[in-house]
Symmetry: C3
Subunit: 141 residues, 3 copies
Amino acid sequence: MAHQTILEFATSGRGTRDITAAVAKFVAEVVHASGLECGLVQVFVQHTSCSLTITENADPDVRRDLETILERLAPDGDPAYRHDDEGPDDMAAHARSVLLDTGLTVPFGGGRLLLGTWQGIYLWEHRTAPHRRKVVVTVIG
Amino acid sequence: MAHQTILEFATSGRGTRDITAAVAKFVAEVVHASGLECGLVQVFVQHTSCSLTITENADPDVRRDLETILERLAPDGDPAYRHDDEGPDDMAAHARSVLLDTGLTVPFGGGRLLLGTWQGIYLWEHRTAPHRRKVVVTVIG
Amino acid sequence: MAHQTILEFATSGRGTRDITAAVAKFVAEVVHASGLECGLVQVFVQHTSCSLTITENADPDVRRDLETILERLAPDGDPAYRHDDEGPDDMAAHARSVLLDTGLTVPFGGGRLLLGTWQGIYLWEHRTAPHRRKVVVTVIG
């Protein structure tokens, strides 16, 4: 049987936000209530201009460098873009969403997420303005 | 218990095709037959030269701009490629398949896909010639 | 009910290693023990400097060309990187991990992985030095 919730996060514009603890909390609640020993948790963002990603959780320079790389791969305000209704970051945000992930699946076992020591789950806002973002979390075991 | 089907789509060469309705239809059939309240549906393409992606479903210019960006990241006919047995789009198609996704997972609840308003599921053909593509759809709840 | 194991692989530095047979073997064991007819297997690497990917399994030039493309998208030793504690391949490895996949889900049915004929599952080491890598494999049906 699956267990599901929708979490909502306020972003403060472009950048990453660590949502590992919020995901781990829901998994712990489901494990406590259901007795599930192992399974999968899937997180899914209901938007096309932000992403979910798993990356290094220790040195914030890693996430800064990732922004630098994305700005090269999908730059803001590229004159080649036809879609720019909402400004120079509009199409860049859609492209980054496609290059990264809308959904992520993480295994759990022994009652906890089986992330490596240095892995964190991040909500990555690609728009320059703050947004409210909905993340569907589904646990299956 | 999992429920599974294989869908087949004809593509008309490079470009995106919206397969959201076909995926939603199989989920609705499974929900109707099984009474599942929530869970996950996974779509998986059995090929290495096309992709599945979730992106903006309103303005077709978004998908055109995504092609423009991919052509920069993995250009056709790059002289650096060693693998070109099937023409200038051969290796470019494999690279785009790796940069995007072979499989996607989407949550469902209340009997319907929990996509955001502006999200569509697309089969993205990367070869220039038309192909028939098989997509495995698996529902778990 | 989910079934889970952790596999460990030694890599010989940057490059791909085919892990399809190891994943298929665990799925076959679970199917044999449980009688599951179909479902999903998820593979997840507990590291932020290597990836999992599905790509063409016939011509090794495809994987060589993929390295060439990644070296352009996330080059080693880029002067723009702030994070370089472990050498010129450190940040490049994190970036490649984010552009590719930390986790992959593959459907199975009729007792076997539903991969296409030309699809293989690869562990992709992005660091230049050999490493030991842990892969969590979870089967759900």
